[in-house]
């Protein structure tokens, strides 16, 4: 199977949120959250069959609002978080919530594939990750490789550490960290480091990248002006604990050693048209293969780019989320 034609999956609405289902070990599965101001939004569950190069999909309704960020629980594959915009009384509020997929979504889709699109099942709300003081949640991060009981939400200039209890139906804030400084500071993105016993967090606000120690909820490093323009996203190298990648609106990808943040270790600027670029993370795929995955953003289209399998260094799975299409391309 060499250079197969890409598999393209059309979405009804524009979409900006894409994640791999971390707890799923048997299939290559992605979750895509849509954005529509007028219609009920959806979560598309997409299985990629790399042997036959085909896609299986399911759609779940997400009626709460348009999805800006999506996160899958590392422990329970039915549990996920979304950050969504809710419009009410001509006000736009950003919220976050933990959801559970209906238990029969998988079986349902197999029996009547046509119906699932027209009568999609609805997500079951487990709990809101909002407290009255902190609104406008930018993203929710699961504890990497954890038991699915701890998440961090980034809301305005606060990082909130939540404990999920009672099968994730109850959430309480156990700790907070606040970003202080001049002006209206606001977190735009973040990543929970899988290293150091998951005790570190990296966040982005405007052009700066900051590292936090979750035990003391205090800042441990800060890369001011990491990018010329807004930092879009960042991620940790899964194999090298001090390495961090970031991408920004200046079309650059930078790699940092957090022990010395004066200068980036490396800067990529090869593709002048990559408006947003990639970051590193890994997902589990069938046979427990470990993937090192990088993500490109091309314009507003996030583009997941799986660089290599450890067992097949040349194989790669490309996953592009166009405004309204998911394109998968598997090469070996």
């Amino acid at each position: 199977m060499e250079d197969d034609a890409p598999v393209i999956y059309g979405l009804e609405f524009q979409a900006r949120a894409l994640t791999a289902q971390a707890a799923e070990t048997d299939a290559i599965r992605f979750l895509v959250g849509t954005q529509s101001l007028k219609f009920d939004n959806q979560i598309h569950i997409i299985d990629f069959d790399d042997e036959n190069n085909i896609i299986n999909k399911n759609v779940l309704l997400h009626q709460a609002g348009e999805i800006w960020h999506i996160g899958a629980s590392p422990a329970d594959k039915a549990v996920l978080t979304t950050c969504y915009n809710k419009t009410s009384d001509s006000r736009v509020v950003s919220c976050a919530a933990v959801w559970r997929m209906p238990s029969d979504w998988e079986t349902g889709s197999h029996e009547s594939p046509d119906d699932s699109a027209h009568n999609p099942q609805t997500l079951e709300l487990l709990c809101h990750l909002d407290d009255s003081a902190h609104i406008n949640t930018a993203c929710v991060l699961w504890e990497p490789m954890g038991d699915g009981k701890r998440v961090i939400s980034l809301a305005d200039n606060h990082a909130l550490l939540w404990d999920l209890q009672e099968s994730s139906t109850q959430a309480t804030v156990s700790n907070t960290a606040t970003l202080e400084g001049k002006g209206q500071l606001k977190f735009t993105s973040g990543k929970w480091s899988p290293h150091h016993n998951c005790s570190q967090l990296a966040t982005a606000n405007d052009t700066a990248i900051r590292g936090w120690d979750l035990r003391t909820m205090s800042q441990i490093y800060c890369i001011e002006n990491a990018h010329g323009q807004l930092v879009r996203d960042l991620d940790f190298n899964p194999n090298r604990q001090y390495y961090l990648a970031s991408c920004g609106d200046d079309c650059k990808v930078k790699f940092w050693d957090v022990r010395n943040v004066q200068e980036p270790v490396k800067t990529l600027e090869e593709h002048s048209h990559w408006w947003k670029t990639y970051f590193h993370f890994h997902i589990n795929l069938p046979g427990n293969q470990h993937f090192s995955k990088s993500c490109f953003f091309k314009e507003t289209f996030p583009l997941f780019y799986i660089v290599k399998f450890q067992s097949f260094p040349t194989a790669k799975l490309t996953c592009v989320l166009d405004i309204k299409h998911l394109i998968l391309n598997f090469n070996t």
Partner: protein
């Protein structure tokens, strides 16, 4: 009287000859040689009348008579002369006879004298032999007396310290004494002499050991000792060690001059004085030592090596001092002093070369000169570099004036100034370095200074390195300062980019040609070609300009981003004005345009349509936009090839936002506007709009359209991006009710 008449006769004869030459062929000339009496008579008879003939006859008779009397006188006179000559001859005959007799008598007397003389010598022979013998005895006796007196004399010499005389005397007597040493009396003398000479040698050695005396005294001493058959090697060692101690004091003197430099560098003697002192004291003493050594020990074979080692050792120390001193020459102001000092240094070492043909010392000296020259070139390079950095700082300060118009004005002036002053500096440095290869400098003839110094030293390590440094430092402005809050003023980036471009087009080739001409560079080893440097400069210029575009784009982007992010677009009032930030964007773009225009040419732009500023934006004009809405709720299609081609199209239509710009104004401004509008678009996509929010965006975009189209190369680009912005905000709008185009125009024209 006779003589005068003879002369008269011959004179006439001579005249007759002359007349004959003139009218020799006339047979009627009575005085001519070809005179024909018959022809003459016939002619007379035919031509003359009777009276004339009568006159002619009387005249002729008269002439004949006078001629006859003349002839008689002559004959008489000649006769008399013959008579007297005969008398004289007769008298001579008698006299010679008498003389012959006297000669015979003389020869008889001479033979008698010879006989007597021989007899006398025979008698004197015996006595002569005796006298010779006696005189021989006398000489011997005098010699003996000398020998007997020798000890006393030597003693006296010793007292008077006339060592040379003593040694001379002893040498004269030594062989004799040796020969007759079996005779007891001579033996005694010899022993005495030996004792005295030993003492003398002792004293000489003492004197030698003291070493206080001058080099000349010392060499005299050694000479005497040598004559006394002292072992040569020992003397060599001693001689050299003495010489060494003296030379060492010279070296210490030199070293002392280097030392005080640390506390007070100003009172320090300059390098020329230092080298002078070194040459006059150390090198000349060294030469003297070498010369006297060679003179003294010329017959001793192995001593040459000793000398070589000795000279090598001392020269090494001298060289290390000189090198230390040269290294202190850091100031790059006046190179001629250093060059002259090195020249003198090098010249003086040639003396050593002449004295010691095989010595490595002069070569080491040349190496020092070479090292000094290379070091100098390095210093010049760093001086040039720091000059360049200082100029940049100056320009930067000039640019730090707050008003933008001033910035741009001083920017352009500063640019030209910067280029010119750097070029001047390079020229003056080249002139200074050129001193190393001047004709009157001795070492400039060395192959190093003719070849490698020019090509590798000056061309590569100085000129080429400097150009590379300019390019590199320019590039660094892009790399380090760029993302850290723009510590480099954008105008400086622009200026440097222009500088690099000028370098690429003309300056580099000019400088290198200048260098090659001045130094007559012959490229034995490969050198960096002009094209490589030009490429590098062009890359730097390109990078700087790209960076300038990014920085300026970023500044405008930030304004736009803040303006979009900080506003509540859902609950906003109906637009009455263009937002101030848009006016600011247009103002800034205009001033950037002016700034770039000062340094770069206009560039090409596509033809404008007639209604460039009046283009309308329809919220739903984009067909793609409509397609998006139409596609709602269509089932997913995993293998839609049509869709695939659409996506490919989507990707290929892409506008390169951060692409390279060209070296002209339009391209630069286009780049900046692209970045700004793209940021605007991205920010809009992240927001949610109310009805009036959308309308405000419409107004803003129209305003931008009115003013920005004129700056870019292709106005469709601005149309496209603004179209996208309005389209995206419509898509992100809760209540997409666009504003009437006419209303928008009214608002925008109001300002």
């Amino acid at each position: 009287m006779t003589f005068s008449s003879f002369q008269l006769y011959y004179g006439i004869n001579k005249e007759g000859k002359a007349a004959e030459q003139a009218e020799s062929l006339d047979p009627c000339d009575i005085n001519g040689a070809h005179f024909n009496p018959d022809l003459f008579l016939n002619k007379l008879r035919r031509e003359c009348s009777l009276a004339e003939l009568m006159d002619q006859e009387t005249c002729m008779v008269k002439q004949i008579r006078s001629l006859d009397s003349d002839m008689q006188t002559l004959v008489y006179e000649n006769y008399n002369k013959f008579i007297s000559a005969t008398d004289t001859i007769r008298k001579m005959k008698n006299d010679f006879k008498k003389m012959e007799d006297e000669m015979d008598c003389l020869s008889a007397n001479m033979s008698a004298i010879t006989e007597f003389s021989a007899r006398i010598s025979g008698t004197l022979q015996d006595q002569h032999e005796q006298i010779t013998k006696l005189s021989g005895v006398h000489t011997l006796l005098r010699k003996l007396q000398f020998l007997f007196e020798l000890p006393a004399r030597l003693n006296k010499c010793l007292e008077l310290q006339a060592y040379a005389q003593a040694v001379r005397s002893h040498r004269r007597a030594r062989c004799v004494l040796q020969q007759y040493s079996h005779l007891p009396s001579f033996k005694g003398i010899q022993d005495d002499c030996h004792a005295i000479m030993d003492k003398l040698a002792q004293e000489l050695r003492q004197k030698f050991r003291d070493g206080g005396s001058s080099a000349k005294d010392l060499s005299e001493c050694v000479e005497l000792l040598l004559q006394l058959d002292e072992p040569a090697e020992e003397l060599c060692d001693k001689f050299l060690s003495h010489a060494q101690s003296r030379l060492e004091t010279d070296l210490q003197g030199l070293e002392a001059e280097i030392r005080p430099t640390i506390p007070s560098p100003t009172s320090n003697t300059d390098i020329l004085e230092f080298i002078d002192r070194g040459c006059n004291e150390f090198v000349s003493s060294l030469c003297l030592v070498i010369a006297s050594y060679q003179e003294l020990f010329i017959n001793h074979a192995q001593t040459g090596e000793l000398l070589q080692a000795f000279v090598g050792d001392l020269a090494a120390r001298y060289f290390s001092l000189v090198e230390r001193r040269i290294q202190e020459e850091k100031g790059v102001g006046d190179n001629s002093l250093l060059v002259r000092a090195l020249d003198r240094f090098h010249r003086r070492l040639q003396a050593v070369a002449k004295l010691l043909p095989g010595s490595p010392v002069p070569n080491q000296g040349t190496e020092i000169v070479i090292r000094a020259a290379t070091e100098r070139v390095k210093q010049y390079l760093s001086a040039l570099q720091s000059f360049y950095m200082d100029s940049l700082t100056d320009v930067r300060q000039a640019l730090a004036t707050p008003r933008l118009s001033v910035v741009s004005a001083s920017g352009a002036g500063g640019g030209a100034l910067l280029g010119a002053s750097i070029l001047n500096q390079i020229k003056s440095v080249l002139a200074s370095v050129h001193l190393f290869t001047a004709k009157d400098i001795a070492f400039s003839n060395k192959p190093y200074f003719k070849g490698e110094f020019c090509s590798q030293g000056v061309r590569e390590s100085l000129v080429v390195s400097f150009i590379k440094f300019v390019c590199q430092s320019s590039r660094q402005f892009c790399e380090s300062a760029g993302d850290k809050g723009g510590s480099t003023p954008p105008a400086l980036l622009l200026l440097l980019s222009r500088l690099c471009l000028d370098y690429e087009t003309s300056t580099i080739s000019y400088i290198l040609t200048l260098t090659d001409e001045q130094f007559l560079v012959q490229h034995h080893s490969p050198v960096t070609p002009v094209t490589t440097l030009c490429t590098e400069a062009r890359e730097a210029a390109q990078k700087l300009l790209n960076h300038y575009v990014k920085v300026q784009g970023l500044i405008i982007s930030q304004m736009l981003r803040k303006s979009v992010e900080t506003r509540d677009w859902v609950n906003t009032i109906e637009p009455r004005n263009v937002r101030a930030v848009m006016k600011r964007v247009v103002e800034d773009t205009t001033s950037i345009d002016v700034q770039v225009g000062l340094l770069y040419e206009e560039g090409v732009r596509k033809a404008h349509s007639s209604d460039s500023s009046k283009r309308t934006f329809s919220v739903y004009s984009s067909s793609r936009q409509q397609a998006r809405y139409a596609a709602s709720y269509t089932p997913s299609a995993p293998m839609d090839t049509n869709l695939l081609s659409n996506i490919h199209k989507l990707f290929s239509e892409r506008i390169d936002i951060f692409s390279s710009v060209e070296f002209n104004k339009v391209s630069v401004i286009t780049g900046i506007i692209k970045i700004s509008l793209k940021t605007f678009l991205e920010c809009v996509r992240l927001r949610t709009f109310g009805r009036y929010g959308l309308q405000q965006i419409q107004v803003d975009c129209h305003y931008l359209q009115m003013y920005l189209w004129r700056f870019v190369s292709d106005e469709n680009l601005v149309h496209f991006l603004l179209d996208e912005i309005v389209g995206s905000s419509a898509h992100r709008c809760l209540d997409p009710a666009p504003m009437e185009q006419s209303v928008i125009e009214v608002i925008c024209e109001r300002g």
